[in-house]
Amino acid sequence: MEQLIQEAKKLLEENKVDVVIGYRSSPLPPFTRPAFIRRPEDCEQLVFNCGSVYNLTRYLIGLGEKPAIVVKGCEQRGLVVLEQENMLPRDSYLLIGVGCSGQVDERKLREGGFDRLPEQLSDELMADKCLYCDQHNTPDADIFVGDEVESVEPRTERYAGLDEFFAQDYEELYHHWTEVFSRCIRCYACRNICPLCYCEQCISYVNMPQWLPRSVADNNNYLFHMRRVLCMAGRCIDCGECERACPVDIPLRTLYKRIAQKIEGFFYGYRAGNNREQLPPLQDFNKDDSADFIL
């Protein structure tokens, strides 16, 4: 990662950016943590490896400084969505691209009792989103560091298992989700970590009317998460951060992916952040949209 360090140093020395957002190593799993580097001499701390799980694009909105940011291929889609939603102009940051051949699953790393990152990341230890990754190298990068990763045949299907899971009847599904969400502690980590959740006034703060009651009692958690699914519909880039952050292991992506799968089917293969020109489905319409469900 010598090149990353050199490039970052150069950017800071030439005052092209105020801060470089990247990864530095950490003694705790996943053995890296986000780094905000402001001094050229600190650039030595920068690393990029299979433990660089964090989606750093989350820090861009409201940063107030000109950043250069290390972004993996899958996460770049989030920047596209933010651009489409006029939240983050492309010229407000410098994109440092990397080749990524897969990230570790933080949970498996903890459970396995690892005390360092494995030299070679096996498929067993890999985060499931990486197994079907089709964007190993950051597209649209201003600076690309390191070697491009050769694309690998996906080992799983993006939407594998969803059709089977959602084939359950409504009552079973309802029961399943109320059960799962009953353990939610409403820490809002899923919302706060999401690169696309940028609302200054989240609807969960709004109290007139109180759309989403705050206590963990009753079905309030279910309601909150339903609203989040709604927020993510057609926008979720499947970076997996919400699930990684969740302290009580709620399988949020099962829902987000299901909706993404449906949207892909409905709206002409739309996949969030894949194509700058194609508007997100809820910002757009087509006169020929399906009308089967309309009476």
Binding site: F166, Y170, E171, E172, L173, Y174, H175, H176, W177, T178, I203, P209, W211, N219, Y222, L223, M226, R227, V229, L230, A233, G234, L255, R258, I259, K262, I263, F266, F267, P281, L282, D284, F285, N286, K287, D289, S290, A291, F293, I294, L295
Partner: protein, 150 residues
């Protein structure tokens, strides 16, 4: 608010026999609301289970309105607007169509029968159609039984 919740609770306990569904209708001001009006002035009878809320456009109906209606005791929701191409604001109903298509998918993924959310196009001239839509929706929701979720 407290009242709404009490009714929701007592209703939930209610016997399923003789079940009369509560349906909230969000009617677009320019077409469906006028259509419903026409049904009234033409003395076309239709089920009284629907409580109409007049909105400027079906595109104005936020998904939260639907969710909140269900949460506060409705058994079903009907969103009704102008026919495609007839929207007073040109495109509101197209946006609404996508929105509720997705909301129905969210409902079905989270275990709520998507049939509880119905959508229809009904113009100001279609009084009879309105009566027929309401009858149809009421029957559908009646079959589904009381809503016990959220």
């Amino acid at each position: 608010m407290a009242d709404a919740e009490t009714t929701a609770k007592t209703k939930k306990k209610a016997d399923r026999t003789g079940f009369e569904p509560h349906i909230i209708g969000f009617l677009c001001n320019w077409c469906t609301y006028a259509g419903a009006d026409l049904a009234g002035t033409s003395r076309i009878g239709y089920p009284t289970n629907i409580k109409a809320v007049r909105v400027p456009c079906s595109g104005r109906v936020d998904a939260m309105y639907v969710i909140n209606a269900l949460k506060n005791g409705a058994d079903g929701v009907l969103v009704s607007g102008c026919h495609p191409g007839d929207c007073h604001y040109n495109q509101g109903n197209y946006y609404a169509r996508r929105r509720f298509m997705i909301l129905r998918e969210i409902f079905s993924a989270m275990g709520i029968n998507p049939e509880r959310l119905q959508m229809s196009w009904c113009s100001a001239a279609e009084g009879a159609k309105w009566a027929q839509i309401v009858a149809q929706v009421t029957e559908k929701i009646r079959e589904l039984g009381p809503f016990e979720g959220i």
